[in-house]
Homo-oligomer: 213 residues x 3
Amino acid sequence: MGLVWLTLDLAGTAVFAISGAAAGVKHRLDVFGVAVLAFVAGNAGGMIRDVLLGATPPAALSGWHHVTVSLVAALLTFVWHPRIERLRTPILLFDAAGLGLFAVSGTQKALAYGLDPLVAAILGMLSGIGGGVLRDLLVNEIPTVLRRGELYAVAAFAGAAVVVAGHWLQLPSSVPTMIGGAVLCFGLRLVSIRRGWSLPTAEDIEWPSQKQR
Amino acid sequence: MGLVWLTLDLAGTAVFAISGAAAGVKHRLDVFGVAVLAFVAGNAGGMIRDVLLGATPPAALSGWHHVTVSLVAALLTFVWHPRIERLRTPILLFDAAGLGLFAVSGTQKALAYGLDPLVAAILGMLSGIGGGVLRDLLVNEIPTVLRRGELYAVAAFAGAAVVVAGHWLQLPSSVPTMIGGAVLCFGLRLVSIRRGWSLPTAEDIEWPSQKQR
Amino acid sequence: MGLVWLTLDLAGTAVFAISGAAAGVKHRLDVFGVAVLAFVAGNAGGMIRDVLLGATPPAALSGWHHVTVSLVAALLTFVWHPRIERLRTPILLFDAAGLGLFAVSGTQKALAYGLDPLVAAILGMLSGIGGGVLRDLLVNEIPTVLRRGELYAVAAFAGAAVVVAGHWLQLPSSVPTMIGGAVLCFGLRLVSIRRGWSLPTAEDIEWPSQKQR
């Protein structure tokens, strides 16, 4: 189980790191800046979760694996960015998979640290979206995930909720709910992209007084 | 005492969360973004303080109360934002009260962790202003509290200083100085708003060489 | 050794704090905002490192020294900013020295906490550059260190790598490699400024398909 888990975790890190490196290339950062954005996008979500849990040093810093994977992803994106842009669809697929994976593993870790189920689901979601939030802040943009758009954080939260539900029901193993949560998150992401689902903004709420104008 | 304290703490969280949600609505974030800004504005100050103290998980994450209060405040603001804008004066009052409360409770906690009095007062102030700073960063603005304007952080620091002074004098109870500090912060805030007091910027300093031009 | 070390550390803090205060004056922050930027620029790198290591409260908060030095630097810069601007060259020199100092001491601390050498070098570099990154974020700019420019983070990483190499070789004392690393970082900084060395951006890579257009 441990090796399978590490492999999945590093695959998620790699995909998120590519998204960070691509943002760095787009904003004309130099190769160091691109590497920083890759590392942040790939690892900051889990690192913030671990700092909040008091699980220091964070998993991403307790070995050379995460750093190395992030740097390789950064270099490949830096050198081959015109080709990587053409890989949009596979990257969207891997990103959705990474999101589901990080959301369920983050939730599971928070539950293992004894956190309240609602808070655990939020920390799981944060594990999934935190890297992208910090990536956007570093290039001076309002985080994509906060703006109107496809379901992203909500998909992560839905996946996290499945893990929490399994914990609540005291199921003998967390593996099935983790797989189920990751698949739910992945599926919600893809359906929402294809159908253009999005969350409302406050302007979408009509008020009687506004109608009369 | 515990229940009174929790109630006050959650009331402060709610008011700050409303300020975060209102900022989210103003920047046209979707309902998830509005909820994130509410949670951040209501809780990030205390969370940063707790992480720096090593008091993990932070108080805001050690139960469902803070998350729930923040989400309710976010939803109410999201749905009723035109009405909430009309509540400007009561919100300013509650915000001043929340600031005083967070500043003195943050200072007290830092002193309880054995920090140097000067540092404890700074962490108390940070508990009061940190949520607003992160709220502004997330919507890509220079934090209000750093720009020229009313006395805000200074009011929080003054309240914190009262608690530190009581600690220094080894008073038998911290309750009177905490109440005094919160009241001082609250009063300073209101007077500075009413009289338009503000701190100087460097441009306000006249230099002889500049006068001659 | 302890006193020498504290003095050097506080000197580095002071120089970085001046850079933060100068950024605050430039963005027309009030005197409180200038003080915050000074404190952040002088101390945030080490504070982030310490939080990630679980070394709480961070060194910068475990006494009144760092806060006091930062505030004094802020006030001096606030009052004398036209004169401090004329001190550009000495400040660049001190900044390069501070960078080298923070990079090697940060690396050494991370190694002492048992981190992997590659990760320790990264945390050392982060100790050196983190304050400047947060300073730039607070005034709503893409961090200077990520954009094309002189070698800055790379100089810090090179200095950190020397300390890591000494650790790897199990040298009996870390003092020579720390001095060597700091000197290397300092020298690389100065040479790169003088010769205009910089890192490439992705646009610098020519692609055959782009040439044909």
